[in-house]
Symmetry: C2
Subunit: 288 residues, 2 copies
C-alpha cells in the first residue's frame, strides 16, 4: 500500500479539500496533472483552493545499488520515498544490468552513472558486507559517489553505506552513523561517529544498521514534506513496530551473549574492512 | 549486513564452539558444508562438538511476487529469511520475466509457478493495492496460492496479501490480519479479523500492513530456529525502531486527522476491493 498508486487523483484532491478548506493550491494541481491519469481532463479545471496540507514536490532521489548491497537498506527507503507525490525516485548503478543483492535476488537499475543528474536532491547509498568492501575498492563507484553525492543537496546512507560516503571523502568533519559493528571505523574517514539512529549534519544524513532505513526515510519525508505528510506515510506503512525482543535491536541493551557471539563472528570482516579503508585512504593521499 | 554472507563459515563454527562449549553438532556441520565455501575442505573434519546454539535448517520458503506488489511487504521478510543458514528462499512468479512492484522498479523472479515444490515449508504472499486487486481476479495466481499454500506447512501473508490467501480459500475459519484499512474485508472469506500485528493460527500466519513484515519474519525465524537465532538476526538488522511519530503507526493511537484523511482518500479503493471479492466469491460458489 503506498500513497500514490491506489487512489484516484481526483479523490486525493477531494480529500485535500475536505481537510483544509479551500485556498489556491496550484502547485499540487500541477503535480497531479504531471502524473498520467484518466481523470486528467477533469482535474485540469482548478479543483480546489486549499493550503497544501500534504506539500507536493519534485525532488530527485537517487539510490545507488551495487553487487552485494543489502536489499532492505535500499528498499525500505525506496518504498517510503516513492510515497512522495511528484518526486522522482530511481535506482542507479554502473550499468542497466540486473544487480544481485546480498540476499541473492536481482533488481533492475533504472539509471546508469552517466544518466544521473549531477545535482539531485538526495543521493542515498545502502550498505552491505563483502559487496560494500568491493565497492570501496571500485574507483568508478567511489568517483560516482564523490561527484553526484558531492553535488547533491544532501548525501545520505543507511548501514555500512556510510563507509562508501566516507571513502568518497564526503564525511570529513561530519557527525555520522553506521551499522553498530562498524561504527568504530568512521574516524578513518575523519568522521565523528554517533550512536544515534538517524544523524543529520548539514548536508549529510546517515542511518544506522539495515532497519534504520525506515526511520531515516521517514525523517527525510518529514524534512521534505512536513509533519502531516510524514504522519500519513507512517500510518499507511502501519509502522507500529513490535520487535520479538523489545530491546534486542540495540547492542547497548540486547542480550550480552548475542552481542559477543556476533562480535566474535564478525571480527574478521571488521578487520578486513579496516585494512581496505586504510589502503584506499593511503592510495588517495599518495595520488593527491 | 546479513548473517551468512560476510563471515567465513569457519569463523562461524569457531564462534559457535566458543559460545556453547563442545558437544557434537553434526547437523550444523552438514548445513555449513552444503553451502559452497573455499573453506569447505577444512570444515569437512568435524570442527566442534557443540549444541546447536543457532539451529540450522533446510526450510523452503517461497515468496510470491506479482505485478503491483508492495516491495517492502516482500523484501523485509526476504531479508530476514535469507539469514536462516541452510534455508532456500525464492521469489516466485508466473514467469521469470521481471515483475514491476508498486514502487515502480523491477525484480527478477527465481522460480515459476510450475517450478515450485508443492509442499514448501512456507508460502508467503505480499500485499499491494491495485495490483492485489488484479491478482485476486487472476485465476492462475489464485489457483497457485490454493495449491502451494494449501500444500505448504504454513501459508502466510503481509498486508493485503491476506486478501489473496482469503481468495484462495485458505483463511476460512482462521484468525487473520491485514492492512488496517482493509481488515474489515476479511470476513468476506470466512476469516476472523484480528488487530494483532502478527497472527499465528494453526498453519496460517498473517502480518498487518507493510512494515509488519519485519515482525512477521522475525517471529517466524524464532519459530523455525529458536530464540537465540532470532535475537541474532534482530540485532544484526539493528532493529531498534524509532518512528518519527512514536504512536503514529497504529490507527488506534495515530493523529485522528491523519486517520480520517487516509480513510477518506482510500474509501473508493476499499469499496472497489470489496466488490471484486464478492464477485470472485460468487463465481466460485456458482462453479462449485
Amino acid at each position: 500500500m503506498s500513497i500514490i498508486d491506489h487512489v484516484t487523483r481526483r479523490s486525493f484532491v477531494r480529500a485535500l479539500t475536505a481537510m483544509s478548506g479551500a485556498v489556491a493550491c496550484e502547485s499540487l494541481t500541477r503535480v497531479i496533472m504531471a502524473a498520467p491519469s484518466k481523470n486528467t481532463q477533469r482535474i485540469e479545471e482548478p479543483m480546489c483552493k486549499c493550503e497544501s496540507v500534504m506539500k507536493p514536490g519534485n525532488e530527485t532521489i537517487l539510490i545507488l545499488i551495487y553487487p552485494g548491497f543489502t536489499s532492505l537498506d535500499a528498499i525500505a527507503p525506496q518504498h517510503v520515498f516513492s510515497s512522495m507525490i511528484g518526486a522522482k525516485v530511481k535506482f542507479v548503478a554502473k550499468t542497466l544490468d540486473p544487480v544481485r543483492c546480498e540476499g541473492g535476488f536481482e533488481i533492475i537499475p533504472q539509471l546508469t552513472f552517466d544518466q544521473c543528474p549531477d545535482s539531485p536532491t538526495l543521493l542515498m547509498v545502502p550498505g552491505g558486507s563483502m559487496g560494500t568492501l568491493e565497492a570501496i575498492k571500485d574507483r568508478a563507484t567511489v568517483d560516482f559517489i564523490r561527484r553526484v553525492g558531492g553535488g547533491a543537496s544532501m548525501a545520505g546512507s543507511v548501514c555500512t553505506g556510510s563507509l562508501l560516503l566516507g571513502a568518497a571523502g564526503l564525511l570529513k568533519g561530519y557527525q555520522a552513523t553506521c551499522h553498530w559493528q562498524l561504527l568504530e571505523l568512521l574516524p578513518l574517514f575523519g568522521a565523528f561517529p554517533s550512536t544515534k539512529r538517524v544523524v543529520f549534519d548539514r548536508n549529510r544524513v546517515t542511518g544506522a544498521g539495515v532497519t534504520a532505513g525506515l526511520d531515516f526515510a521517514l525523517e527525510l519525508v518529514r524534512f521534505y514534506r512536513g509533519d502531516f505528510y510524514a504522519e500519513c506515510v507512517e500510518l499507511l506503512s502501519q509502522y507500529d513496530p513490535q520487535p520479538p525482543f523489545p530491546r534486542g535491536g540495540d547492542p547497548a541493551t540486547a542480550n550480552p551473549a548475542v552481542v559477543s557471539f556476533l562480535n566474535e563472528m564478525h571480527q574478521p570482516f571488521v578487520k578486513k574492512t579496516a585494512e581496505a579503508i586504510r589502503k584506499a585512504e593511503n592510495n588517495q593521499h599518495s595520488r593527491s
